[in-house]
Amino acid sequence: MTALLAEFVQPDDLLAAVRRVREKRIPIIDSFTPFPVEGLDRALGVEDQRINWLGFAGMISGALLGWFFQWYANSDYTLNVGGRPWLAPPSFTVLTFEFSVLLGAFFMFFGLLILNRLPKLHHPLFAAPGFDRVTSDRYFLLIDAPDAAARRFIEDLHPASIAEVEP
């Protein structure tokens, strides 16, 4: 089966197209832009907070790791340092925070790669004509096009070009 890749010159044309296509209940696979186009995700109706949650989870686990690691290290070989007790939570706070930041960043970054299925060096779309301008000044819409009607509908949107691709 094939998919249609429609190329637009203006971001707002893309947005308009997206809205119309969705009204027509034509399934949209994805849309591609050189930069995050304001409102595009809403128009596409994609909703995804997982990254934030991952980061948050990372920070929590980092904090726990940081605190309990210090707790363990101090209890493993208890020493009298400057007359302080071996368990000195006030001085543990700093590293607890550091660790929460570290794991937060890691979760978030690697979460991003995994959710985005990156790295993906080879992708059929790269073969699509003119797709190299997706990182410059062209805006693409990729839709499932089972029938000719849908295709015609897309053509009525006057994209700069239409290409059939194997997603």
């Binding site: 020493l79 400057g82 007359g83 302080r84």
Partner: protein, 959 residues
């Protein structure tokens, strides 16, 4: 072993590097030597008779060889047992031998700690009244001198190396020739001597050579003999009793200062001082600041040349005095009247004889003879004549054979004598000494003298009692003792070292008595009894004011004395009490003179006395008499070892033949500067609570200068509980006389390296224990405070908080631990330390010592490598030794069974160490006293080391 071998070994030794974390002879000398060496050490030193020397020779050789094999960086350390192990020997446990180190003719009684047959450290001899277990810095340094790689190592003739046999032969010829002439032209030159054996031998020599003459010379000491003759008609040793007299008057007489009398004087002084009444009242009039002056209740800075006027005034005459002097005299007289029959007075040894005599008479009149001042026969025997006479005789060609035993006249003679030059005119000149010094270079024969710790000999202590010196190790460089040298003249060349000494005592001491006196370090019933004396009428002293112009006084250097310790890095790096200068001798100049000449510290000045000139760099010394310049002996040496040579100026150049302050000198600044290195650049007390002073019976709480802050018990954390032992230290500032004995003791015990002048100059000295010196009042006549500062072992240790790797933590007994092997050298602990008592190994200082010197390292203490922090550990090795001994028997460590090195050495017992959890321990009781305070206690560090405030009687304060 012959000279060439020796030379080779030395060269090889010189090339050897140290080994990281080296510990003890057990590892360093692990080859054949150890066994033989120990075998030779046993049975214990005093039983060895004839044939021992050969044995010892091998040992000396093997020390050299083994040092070689032991110090390679990759040296594997095999275990080397004995062939025949002595019955009472236990591997790994040090043994102690009693002996003495002579100093200016007086015995300093010591106990030597020996590890595997090698003396590593000297302690005082508890059983000896002249020591009571304490010891001076000089005596302790003997160990370092013993292993000094620069020591004279071979017999030389006209500078070329030869053998003992050659010398014996030559001496024999001379002896024959001399016999015929009855010893005409035979001269003996020694330092001050009290050795009975030496006296016996000299007597014997007189028998063989009737016209022999014995000269003795010491640049210090002066005219005591003459003075006592004038005062009492006979030579005497006059001892002011600081433990009994309630008023002590010193006219330029440094009673508590360095020298053979320091330890006994300090012992006596502290005995009375310890009663806490601020007694005795000490009145000092002196030209240059001394330890005695620092302890004075009332100190007068005045020219040495005006001392006769003061003496006259005190004796009732009416000499012209300036207001300050008059006031001081007034105060003294009042004190003397208030304390009838309990005052003593003494004048400096370089004062004119009649002045000294007058003071002796005054002391007799003011005090209770026999109680506040005692008289005994002189301990140091009187010789036929001095150096001046000898020089004259040489000039007249009367001297044919000159034996110079353990003296260095070519260096230490007064410049005007020109002794170094005329020495060449002596047909047969023999010089025996430990170092190849200036005299050695100018004598025909130079003989290596055995070190006191290598020798059989005997010597009298200050109280006259005799200590037999026994060898603790074989002569490292095949040296002979003085007695063996004289044996050579008595037709017994090359006889063993023991015999001459044993001969002296054979009649008095049978074998068992001989053993006992060796074990005790004291021959019973040899102390001198006090003698009753009758003062003779004295003519009034000529109380004429000295001529105008600058006055020059001469003093032995507080660190290297007359120069004999000049090659000892411990003492070179020992801060001089007054100036804290190291590795140099400054020209002491008063602040007033400094202002007048526009001279600052380090400016080179030229002093001219009777046409002779000298250049040295000035040091402004608060408390110095306005127009007086002080020159210190012991420096400006041209020979005498790598450390000794080329430092400072040679004060002997200006020393007048008749020892006395020379007036009418001229001083001017040359414009040149020479950087003098001092370990303390700032001296004003910054806030009086660093050193606190109270009136007798008073406590800190109501002291004039009161505490700023009290330890704050409120903390985020609970206070750490210390069960069991809680080690702590109390230092009594009222007893500390700043004599530096503790500093050297700490250095010797804990393998603290010397770092050299350049490193001290950038502030990298390594002393774990330093003595801070602060001035109070105006610089022209200040009050001086001494304060020993070791690690405070704070319970809230700021340093520990900073260390990222737990290299410094607290022990469950409250000791602030420093783990060298864990330290990575971030230096955070030292940065955080408010007391700056931590020392950092910026380089591998310990390795810079010559391999031979490693022999006196303490095997119980790790030698620190480069890049690690170190500091006072409360002598943890001693604490642990006591701990293990006690724990083995599951008993408690008794109070006083752990004594730190500094505590052991301190002649005034100013330092107390013990268990704070035991309310009855000495340290707890002191800490409970009202004079107790913590240094910087406002910082809430809860120091384990605390201080007792100094006591000052009201009214006596202002100088």
């Amino acid at each position: 072993m012959d000279e060439n071998e020796t030379k080779d070994r030395l060269r090889q030794l010189a090339q050897q590097g140290g080994r990281r974390f080296w510990r003890g002879l057990e590892e360093m000398l692990d080859d054949g030597s150890v066994g033989e060496w120990l075998a030779a050490e046993f049975p214990s030193a005093f039983e060895i008779g004839l044939g021992r020397r050969d044995m010892l020779k091998i040992m000396a050789a093997s020390l050299a060889m083994s040092t070689l094999s032991g110090c390679g960086p990759t040296a594997e350390s095999p275990a080397v047992p004995y062939v025949n192990q002595p019955t009472d020997y236990v591997p790994g446990i040090p043994r102690w031998f009693a002996t003495a180190v002579p100093f200016d003719g007086y015995a300093q009684p010591v106990l030597a700690e020996c590890h595997a047959g090698r003396p590593t450290r000297l302690d005082g001899n508890r059983q000896h009244p002249a020591s009571r277990g304490t010891i001076s810095a000089f005596a302790q340094a003997a160990v370092q001198q013993l292993y000094d790689p620069d020591r004279s190592q071979a017999v030389t003739y006209r500078g070329g190396i030869t053998t003992w046999n050659a010398f014996d032969a030559a001496l024999l010829d001379e002896a024959h020739r001399l016999k015929k002439s009855g010893g005409a032209g035979l001269r003996l030159l020694t330092g001050p001597a009290s050795s009975p054996t030496l006296m016996r031998q000299i007597a014997a020599l007189r028998g063989v050579f009737p016209s022999m003459r014995w000269h003795s010379y010491s640049p210090v000491g002066g005219l005591r003999g003459v003075a006592t003759r004038q005062a009492f008609g006979r030579p005497l040793q006059v001892m002011p009793r600081l433990d009994r007299a309630t008023v002590v008057v010193s006219l330029d007489d440094d009673i508590l200062g360095p020298g053979p009398f320091q330890v006994p004087a300090a012992l006596a002084w502290s005995e009375q001082r310890r009663k806490g009444q601020g007694m005795p009242l000490l009145f000092v009039a002196e030209s240059t600041p001394t330890l005695t002056g620092a302890m004075a209740h009332r100190r007068l800075a005045t020219a040495s040349g005006r001392i006769p006027l003061l003496a006259a005034a005190l004796s009732g005459q009416k000499p012209p005095l300036d207001p300050a002097e008059a006031a001081w005299v007034q105060a003294v007289r009042k004190a003397v009247e208030d304390n009838p029959g309990s005052a003593v007075i003494g004048a400096g040894a370089d004062q004119a004889a009649d002045v000294q005599a007058l003071c002796m008479a005054l002391a007799y009149r003011w005090g209770a003879p026999g109680r506040t001042v005692t008289y005994t026969d002189p301990v140091v025997a009187e010789s036929d004549a001095g150096l001046a006479e000898l020089a004259a005789d040489i000039d007249d060609g009367k001297v044919g054979v000159l034996l110079m035993l353990d003296v260095d006249p070519a260096y230490a003679a007064p410049g005007p004598l020109g002794f170094a030059e005329i020495l060449a005119r002596v047909p047969f000149s023999v010089h025996a000494a430990g170092m190849y010094d200036e005299t050695a270079a100018r004598s025909q024969w130079h003989l290596p003298l055995a070190h006191p710790l290598e020798s059989w000999s005997d010597c009298r202590a200050v109280d006259g009692s005799v200590t037999i010196l026994q060898p603790l190790i074989a002569p490292l460089w095949q040296g002979r003792t003085v007695h063996q040298m004289l044996d050579g003249l008595l037709d017994q060349p090359g006889r063993d070292a023991l015999s001459p000494v044993r001969d002296t005592w054979r009649s008095q001491l049978d074998e068992s008595a001989w053993r006992r006196s060796l074990e005790d370090g004291r021959v019973p019933e040899t102390a001198f009894d006090a003698v009753r004396v009758q003062p003779r009428p004295l003519p009034p002293v000529a109380a004429i004011a000295p001529p105008a112009g600058t006055e020059v006084v001469f003093r032995p250097d507080p660190s290297v004395w007359d120069g004999r310790f000049a090659n000892c890095s411990w003492l070179q790096e020992l801060p001089k009490p007054a100036s804290k200068v190291v590795w140099d001798n400054p020209v002491a100049v008063s602040p007033a003179m400094g202002r007048r000449l526009k001279v600052e510290n380090g400016d080179v000045v030229e002093i001219e006395v009777e046409g002779r000139r000298l250049r040295g760099s000035a040091w402004i010394l608060p408390g110095q008499a306005a127009d007086t310049v002080t020159l210190y002996f012991g420096y400006g040496r041209r020979r005498g070892g790598t450390f000794a040579e080329g430092l400072g100026y040679d004060a002997y150049q200006l020393l007048p033949v008749k020892a006395a302050p020379s007036a009418g000198a001229r001083i001017k600044r040359t414009g040149a500067t020479h950087h003098l290195v001092s370990t303390q650049l700032h001296h004003a007390i910054d806030g009086k609570d660093l050193v606190r002073v109270v009136a007798p019976g008073e406590g800190i709480d109501n002291a004039a200068e009161t505490v700023v802050g009290h330890p704050d018990e409120h903390s985020l954390y609970p206070r750490y509980p210390y069960q069991g032992y809680a080690w702590g230290m109390v230092i009594d500032n009222d007893l500390c006389i700043g004599c530096n004995a503790c500093v050297i003791a700490c250095q010797a015990e804990n393998n603290v390296p010397s770092v050299g002048k350049e490193q001290v100059a950038v502030g990298r000295e390594m002393h774990w224990l330093r003595i801070d010196r602060y001035y109070e009042g105006e610089p022209d006549h200040p009050f001086t405070h001494f304060e020993p500062v070791p690690c405070m072992h704070c319970e809230n240790a700021p340093c520990e908080l900073g260390c990222p790797v737990n290299a410094t933590v607290h022990s469950p007994e409250g000791i602030n631990e420093m783990l060298y092997n864990r330290c990575i050298g971030t230096r955070t602990c030292a940065t955080y330390c408010p007391y700056k008592v931590r020392r950092f190994n910026y380089y591998y200082f310990a390795r810079e010592a010559a391999p031979l010197e490693w022999a006196h390292r303490n095997p119980q203490v790790t030698v620190r490598a480069r890049g690690v922090m170190e500091k006072c550990t409360y002598c943890i090795q001693r604490v642990q030794r006591a701990h293990i001994a006690a724990d083995r028997e599951s008993r408690a460590i008794s109070d006083g069974s752990v004594r730190t090195a500094c505590q052991n050495a301190c002649p005034t017992s100013a330092i107390t160490f013990g268990n704070l959890n035991d309310p009855d321990s000495a340290v707890s009781r002191k800490r409970a006293g009202r004079r107790n305070y913590g240094l910087l206690d406002a910082l809430n560090t809860w120091p384990r080391t605390t201080y007792l405030a100094r006591i000052r009687r009201h009214g006596a304060g202002e100088a």
